[in-house]
């Protein structure tokens, strides 16, 4: 299966939230990485068919998703970034309702609900009202809901937001276990989540895709641009203003070890280190003010 974006642009007034995206997605997990406001959610909404693009079209296996209409939505699973729940519904009833909306009937619906509740670890609270749930529990219910119809196209907009570490790992394993015979689009700004999962990473910035490739390929971009150096603590703020600074580790005698992402060698004593995905993110988003660059 293949989803193809051609010249997708979404404008809000004069602002382009998504700017001329051309892209083809194949089976596998595709992570969409980007800063706040970079247009991830907008692109996902367009993919889910709940938002019309100002220009361009999205097609599944050559057919426009708008023309496919309900048959496209039938194979779609979508977890919105901020979604609402029916506070007075019990978790189980909510999933049964989503089954009804997804056209899953009868015993199969019951079976799926039970399975999904187990998957996300909500079986014990299935008869509690959603209004009494914590943020993370709601998020898990949202994940459960998106998987009810065993979707071939799964869109997850920041699925791990609000999940505790244990649940985050559970989710990661769950996603891994899902058959690779589907397209999974996964928006996030948590880099560590995708290092394990993603077959492909897209970095989005100001509505444009600025990098595209497997995690290894992206890391390749940063090779030779990540530096490690020991500096005096007092110098830290000056360095931070001037370079994209990654991890800072405390050292001895008022020295600290900083990781800097920079095209050129920032200091004589700096040494090149092996880049990670975090560094790639910093490479694109660790913006340094122009003035600082100048002096």
């Amino acid at each position: 299966m293949e989803i193809k974006y051609s010249e997708i642009t979404k404008k809000y007034g004069d602002k382009k939230a998504v700017d001329g995206v051309n892209l083809t997605l194949n089976n596998g997990v595709c992570a969409l990485l980007g800063a706040n406001g970079s247009g991830k959610t907008t692109l996902m909404r367009i993919t889910a068919g709940i938002l019309d693009a100002t220009e361009g079209s999205v097609s599944l296996d050559g057919r426009n998703i708008k023309a496919l209409d309900s048959s496209y939505r039938n194979i779609l699973g979508y977890l919105p970034q901020n979604f609402g729940c029916y506070k007075d519904f019990k978790a189980k009833d909510f999933l049964m309702y989503m089954c009804a909306l997804k056209g899953i009937d009868g015993d199969f619906a019951k079976k799926r609900c039970k399975e999904m509740l187990e998957e996300v670890g909500l079986t014990e609270v299935q008869n509690k009202k959603i209004g009494s749930f914590s943020g993370g529990m709601k998020q898990r219910l949202g994940i459960a809901q998106s998987l009810l119809n065993e979707p071939s196209v799964l869109i997850l907009d920041e699925p791990t937001a609000g999940l505790d570490p244990k649940e985050r790992i559970r989710f990661r394993n769950m996603l891994c276990a899902l058959s690779k015979e589907r397209i999974i689009i996964y928006a996030t700004h948590i880099v560590s989540d995708i290092t394990f999962l993603a077959d492909r990473v897209l970095i989005m910035k100001d509505g444009k895709i600025v990098a595209d490739g497997s995690p290894e390929e992206l890391i390749e971009i940063a090779v030779g641009k990540v530096w490690s150096v020991n500096v005096e603590r007092s110098e830290l703020s000056r360095i931070q203003a001037r370079y994209s600074v990654g991890t800072i580790k405390d050292g001895d005698n008022g020295f600290v070890n900083v990781r800097i992402v920079s095209e050129g060698k920032p200091f004589e004593e700096a040494v090149n280190v092996k880049p990670e995905l975090d560094d790639v993110y910093l490479y694109f988003f660790g913006e340094v003010s122009e003035d600082a660059e100048a002096d």
């Binding site: 039938n74 009833d93 989503m98």
Partner: protein
Amino acid sequence: MLKLIKYEFVKIWNSRISSVVIALVLIISCCFSGYQIYKCKTGKVVTSINRSEYPGGIVSNKNIDNFRDELQEFEGREEIYETDSAVENFYAGYVLKGKYDVKEDDLFEKAVTGEITNEEYNKIISGYNSAPCIKEEYLAEYFALYYPITVYETAQRDKNIYFENSERADYELNKRIDYSMKAYNIADNLEKGIYYGYDYGWNVAEGVFDSVGILLIFVIIFGLCGVFSAEYNSGTDSLLMATKKGKNKLATAKILTGIIYSLICTIAGALVSYLPSLIVLGFEGGNVGYSVTHFQHLADKSVSLILACCVISLITLCFSAFFRKVTSIIFCTVLVSVAPIGITMFLTSANNMPFDAGVLLNTLPANMIINSHQVFQQYATIFQGLLTIRTLYISLVVSVLLIILVSLLVKVLYLKHRIRN
């Protein structure tokens, strides 16, 4: 589809405003019903007959003379009248207990001839609009003759008034046609026969139902204002719109929910209005009434209420699909639904009705609810008098058209709304 509708009802049921309003309306209508029944039971009602024990029947042109003859013969019998002392007892308070019913004319006669003093006469008249004179054991027999004649004469009088009005040159054509239709209708009834009899249960119920009808507007507006807007506000719309049935089918389900909700409201309204008074005051008398029997009234009224409620519920859904704020939805729906009442009142008071505007305005939903009595006995004339139809039929067509149009609009508004969350 049925499942989707079921869940919509669950959502309505879960919403606090709708349950509060439903409970309030239920309480108000129970109080109203109770008060009317209480008034009836204690005899504080201004109608000619205040008991259930007289037999009903049919009166028509054919048998009216028999009734008159029999009544004359009956009234000629000496033994049926009360003695003076019993009448005095009556003054002392029998009436207030509702034990006697009387002939006012006789009382007047007695006052004129000096048999009773003017003071006594006034006392009785002010306390009760009749006075005693026939013994209790003869009352049933008496009313069996007296009542059909009264019914017949009232109908006859109405017919004459309508007929005279229909002849008046200073009236507009359509008004005259309306009157002549009514006169014809009554004449027809007089020929075929009019049912008469005890019908208190039905009478009271009708009054209650007319008032409950207005309250239904609020049950509908408050019940349905969140059908779309609550999804928008809580952010569930982004979930719904991405599911197979969450667009078109869900919109259809919501519209059907609105229609079924109106239906249920009307039926519940009818039950709440009719059952208490029928149970307490008796089920008999449904076929009583000239021109419109109680059964017919209930049927006509229910049809017009269902249609009007459907239209109002769809208008509510329309605003619910458009606005997010509940106050805006309620304000706009009330404005649009109730506006025709205001326009009608304005046009009537300005005495400036263009052609049949008044009649036609009455076919709009809110007017249908408050003017239902008028609506189904009214006729509208179109094409210069070439066609005269009952306004109920116009309402039917107008409502069905409105329902289709507004449903389409609701769908478009829902599908085109912008997701915010």
